[in-house]
Symmetry: C2
Subunit: 335 residues, 2 copies
């Protein structure tokens, strides 16, 4: 019998998630049935959508999320023992994958990473990378020479979007929350300009950085920063809305922001929300994005960075740290 | 010499436009130069964009807007004396059309209205009709059987959008501001349901009227009504944003609304702002829309209503009345 531990959410988050909203439950893994297999986790992902989407599930629920693990027992010939697998089993050290047909089960054998570190399968070569790739290319439809703004630019998705935009010949401006991140974006990732929104005069800094206005905006944060960026967008600008991390800890019944509608109207902007599962179902296009991203990383055109916390016991800290913007690149926990 | 009168805006509007923001100026029409012609106005349009877009011009400016008139003198062989013309000369009884190449000059001979009343060239067969036609069909991309919501449904644009949606086989729900308008929309225009947003429980009324959720939303008003409608939109819903009349009299530096971004994100909505001039330049597609709309009116599939105020002296009242929602159908002034 395998002793397993998993995080269960006992209470819907209000404001910043609290440690005792979670319970770390110990239990014995059940026997496998036909088609099932069990996994020992190696890396577990912490992502903003874990804050945003919990309210859709009945309480209590097992904390969902991507992980990479090794198959330790299997009654499924497609998933043999010893293989590495990417799955959506969440915050747990051992688990049984019970239903491959379940919506958003997102279980697949670790793809060919062309020798790159396996943890990238949770970052640039996983959900965040695929989000950046399709979200930016298919919704922003960037053209060479255009000006692209990315918010949450040092995060798992934003850092990849900015680098894809550079590959596509765009001028790239990133908004981020610390001077260290500004340095990283400008000096290592090749952003034309990075701006610390916490200390800069955002309007002025953006005007200086984007004298011809903004054509594409990849938005991870929402809120007042987004309102300031919309003000400098050009006619027919395109916005890919990927996240609203600035509002995830707000109470949606009372939270108010500057209205974006007049700006969308007068500039005739196109704003589209995106969730990466749209490129998974009905048609799984993730392999296409992962292959392209792996190629770019191998060629040195994209640098992928992981921000690793050690230990299952530190998942909560890694999660709230990521929500507070402590990570550069992809936030992960190594089990 | 022709004595002419025109409305000049002396001060940018703040809140509801005030009578003394305008000055009614009397002057003598200048002599025509080659290529110019003079027009005696018959009908003058009052529209929400007159409230919204004035800030873009230096003060003082002549109040812009569409009118229909007759050419009384001409040094332009394309615009002969005696012909009727649609132009953007604004709030004036006589004027000289000086520059046909000017951006948004929008001067064209009255199109063939197939015997329909000429004032429709300012409504269903003019700018508002073209806005409704392309904005709804090309941005909402409605499919038969889908549920369509229109706000400002009894206005010049909204009333046409709803009827086009019925022609296309959609279920149509309109939001409007009085019980009289509700009656008109349901009994005469064939809306499946009209809701008085001032008196109804908007969330409940919409849930009852749209049990399968909302696929397309044609938005003329913005504000909290729009937030309520977004909440009931379906995955991948499409929003054509045509106006924000609810906020035109608000101070944009302090005006706050419920944030729409989380809804756009989670439902993966596509929101696009539109201004009708995009179908005029670089390519003039207005004739295509006007011909289709005239056909539908002749067939009885679209009912076009004008709300006519008499007299140049009453333009201000007609304008603020329209902003307050006093009109059913297209608000016009007969000179």
């Amino acid at each position: 019998m395998v002793k397993a531990r998993k995080y269960v959410v006992k209470r819907y988050f209000q404001g910043v998630p609290k440690k005792d909203d979670f319970e770390l439950v110990e239990y014995e893994l059940p026997q496998l049935k036909t088609g099932q297999f069990s996994v020992k986790a190696e890396f577990i992902s912490v992502d903003p959508y874990m804050r945003a989407y919990g309210y859709r599930r009945p309480i209590p629920y097992d904390q969902f999320g991507f992980q990479i693990g090794t198959i330790i027992e299997s009654k499924n010939p497609d998933f043999p023992v010893g293989c590495r697998v990417v799955n959506h089993q969440g915050w747990c050290d051992y688990s049984v994958v019970t239903d491959l047909t379940e919506n958003h089960s997102h279980v697949y054998l670790l793809p060919d990473l062309q020798g790159l570190p396996i943890e990238l399968a949770l970052g640039a070569l996983g959900m965040p990378g695929v989000t950046a790739y399709f979200g930016f290319l298919e919704i922003c439809k960037p053209k060479a020479g255009e000006t692209v703004v990315v918010s949450g630019a040092a995060g798992a998705v934003g850092s990849i979007v900015g680098q894809i935009a550079k590959i596509k010949g765009c001028r790239v401006i990133g908004f981020t929350g610390s001077d260290d991140k500004v340095q990283w974006l400008e000096k290592e990732l090749g952003f034309d300009k990075a701006i610390n929104y916490k200390t800069a005069d955002v309007n002025k800094a953006l005007k200086d950085a984007a004298p011809k206005g903004v054509d594409c905006y990849f938005d991870n944060v929402g809120g007042e920063l987004t309102a300031a960026i919309y003000k400098q967008m050009n006619l027919y600008g395109r916005v890919a809305l990927c996240g609203c991390i600035s509002s995830y800890n707000e109470d949606p019944t009372t939270y108010k922001t500057s209205s974006l509608l007049p700006l969308i109207l007068y500039k005739q902007l196109k704003v589209e929300g995106l969730i990466v599962s749209r490129w998974y179902e009905p048609e799984n296009r993730w392999p296409e994005a992962i292959a392209a991203l792996a190629q770019w990383i191998k060629q040195g055109n994209i640098k992928a960075r992981s921000h690793v916390t050690e230990g299952l016991d530190n998942l909560y800290d890694a999660f709230v740290g990521m929500l507070a913007g402590e990570n550069m690149g992809k936030a992960l926990v190594k089990v």
